[in-house]
């Protein structure tokens, strides 16, 4: 395969996983991520790796569970309704501190919704989703190149922190074609996994468990998890800034919405408005500190999402009273118009703007 190729985002994730040393992939058909499952069906066996079309998303995530307890790298992917079914498995993976990669190519919801792109699974991805006190690491690519690159990062991070990692993307990024430079390096190094189940040869048996009936033991387990999340919060926050240096109005958006917001920022600049964009790359951990810093400098903040305003709440938590916050969002698979985002930025730029959502 040439190093520079034209690919859709779903395939780019698949090829990224293969190059990251993903040993097993388990999936169940759902639009708009079907290209990824088909890509894996074709290419995993070519590399001598495991592909199974599971009987459900529930089975798929639990096959991932089985695969990663052996110490191998494994991934599953789906779209919103299927990701809802994986929540139990994600809670178990997080509880047992197992490294796994899960891709959500979001579509319109709630319910069966539609197959148009959406960002309405933000709460589910970043706040837990399943039961219990746990977090996924959540990465938000905004180009086909990042779909590929972040997949490789996701496997490395999953191993580094022994934690499930979610790539939170949407049907637009999944199905769009863009030129892509393929990852050429060796798979990220896998740390030793002395906890893995390989057969108790010359060692004591290993156990993978999340049942801890004694309250003290389970609380202790939770404290260990929380300490790890604290480390992740300190080490991993990722974001991208565009024209924020002198910005007086700041757009905050991730994934597909960030592409739209960037276009609107360019248009605003052309009109003489000092607009900038902050794009969270890690949705958990969320770039709260940087947003707080910028909030102190700007006249107003505009959050752009393909949802009713979910990341908005994290921005509100970060900003507090430091700046007015406005929101531009569409739901049900609709995508915000660049012109509407521009208008909202223009509004925020007016010196006496009142009534912004904060």
């Amino acid at each position: 395969m040439h190093n520079r190729v034209l690919m859709n985002g779903n395939d780019a994730i698949g090829e990224g996983a293969i190059r990251a040393g993903c040993h097993a992939y388990f999936g169940y058909p759902i639009t708009p991520q079907n290209e990824l499952t088909s890509y894996m069906a074709k290419h995993m066996p070519e590399h001598g790796r495991v592909f199974i079309q599971a009987e459900s998303e529930v089975a798929a995530i639990n096959m991932v569970f089985g695969a990663v307890v052996t110490g191998k790298r494994a991934m599953t992917s789906s779209s919103s309704p299927g990701i809802s079914l994986k929540q139990e498995g994600l809670s178990y993976l997080a509880a047992a501190e197992l490294p796994a990669v899960v891709v959500n190519v979001q579509r319109g919801g709630p319910g069966l919704g539609n197959i148009a792109p959406s960002q309405a699974d933000y709460f589910q991805a970043t706040k837990g989703g399943g039961h219990g006190d746990y977090h996924l690491i959540v990465l938000a690519p905004n180009s086909v190149q990042e779909m590929h690159d972040f997949t490789i990062d996701a496997f490395a991070l999953a191993d580094r922190y022994r934690n499930p990692v979610m790539i939170l993307t949407d049907g637009r990024l999944g199905q769009m074609m863009e030129p892509l430079v393929l990852y050429k390096g060796a798979p990220p190094k896998s740390p030793p996994k002395p906890w893995s189940l390989t057969g108790a040869r010359n060692r004591k048996p290993n156990h993978i468990r999340s049942l801890l009936l004694e309250v003290d033991a389970l609380e202790e387990r939770n404290l260990i998890l929380q300490a790890k999340y604290k480390t992740i919060l300190a080490e991993l926050v990722g974001f991208d800034e565009y024209l924020t240096q002198d910005a007086q109005v700041l757009a905050i958006a991730y994934g597909s919405s960030a592409r739209i917001a960037k276009g609107a920022v360019d248009q605003a600049r052309a009109k003489g408005i000092k607009a900038g964009l902050l794009r969270p790359i890690t949705l958990w951990p969320f770039p709260r500190a940087r947003i707080r810093q910028l909030a102190a400098k700007v006249k107003g903040i505009l959050v752009v999402e393909m949802s009713a305003g979910q990341m908005l709440e994290d921005v509100q938590l970060a900003v507090g009273e430091r700046s007015p916050i406005a929101f531009e969002g569409r739901m049900g698979g609709a995508v915000p118009e660049e012109s509407d985002v521009l208008t909202a930025l223009q509004h925020l730029n007016k010196p006496t703007r009142k009534g912004a959502r904060s």
Partner: protein, 260 residues
């Protein structure tokens, strides 16, 4: 023979010892429970085949969730009913290891029915140990898919009524309609002869897996005296007189072919 003597004399013949694959610790199972016997049989088979060090078990959600307390091999828990999916993931990644799932009737035949059927239908080269005790043990004796018609449980207080609650699901017969399984057999812990048969069935299944033969399921009719609401002795009688007529014993599938 003096009972106070602890060391065996040279002339003594050891006729039974704890299998090495079984951890030496007191059991948490209720008196008369079949799980302990089933665990011991698995341990004996791992010893006989010398595969303890290459075996990975998957424990269910149910009374046997703590199988790792007793079985001296690598073991993973699984979410309720997802046991065969977890076993599938393990086996596909480590095809040269021996992988078994151990499941109760709620885990296998209710919440995990989809995973059960599809693992069997893919012919996964794993061994499924299915402990059918006709009730949900761990949660307090609720109705299971295998509860007998008329049987009283916490959630069928007037007895299972087939008109609204269905009838006992016969897993061996159900899976035997598929093309892929290699060995399917039902046994019962209803006395020494039944226990010996159960051991033999497990041996066949694990040996088949070692030889790459494919999917095997051994259903073990097993006492749960507590929730059968019987003494241990009467629970065994219940298996003989109640369960076996509803769940006929025998080999349903041998060498990949239905037994007719």
């Amino acid at each position: 023979m003096s009972t106070s003597r602890s060391r065996p004399k040279k002339t003594d013949r050891i006729i039974y010892r704890r299998p090495l694959s079984l951890v030496d610790r007191p059991t948490h199972f209720c008196p008369g429970c079949g799980h302990g016997t089933a665990h011991k049989l698995i341990a004996e088979v791992l010893d006989t085949l010398k595969i303890r060090e290459k075996t990975i078990g998957v424990a269910p959600v149910g009374c046997a969730v703590m199988a790792y307390y007793y079985l001296n091999c690598d073991i993973s828990e699984a979410a309720h009913g997802r046991t065969p999916a977890v076993a599938t993931g393990i086996k596909r990644c480590l095809p040269d290891r021996i992988v078994f799932s151990y499941q109760g009737d709620g885990d296998l035949a209710a919440i995990g029915m989809a995973e059960t059927i599809h693992a069997a239908n893919r012919g996964e080269n794993i061994t499924v140990v299915f402990v059918n005790n006709s009730v949900y043990g761990m949660t307090g004796g609720q109705m299971a898919p295998t509860t007998l018609n008329g049987q009283k449980t916490a959630t069928s207080p007037c007895g299972r009524d087939s008109r609204s609650m269905g009838t006992p699901i016969r897993i061996c017969e159900l899976l035997n309609t598929l093309d892929s399984p290699w060995h399917i057999e039902r046994v019962a812990l209803d006395g020494p002869a039944g226990i010996r048969k159960a051991r033999k069935a497990l041996l066949t299944a694990f040996k088949g897996q070692m030889e790459g033969k494919g999917y095997s399921l051994i259903e073990i009719l097993s006492p749960c005296p507590i929730h059968m609401r019987l003494t241990p002795r009467d629970a065994v009688r219940f298996i003989k007189e109640g369960m076996i007529p509803a769940f006929p014993l025998g080999v349903f599938r041998k060498e990949g072919k239905p037994v007719t």
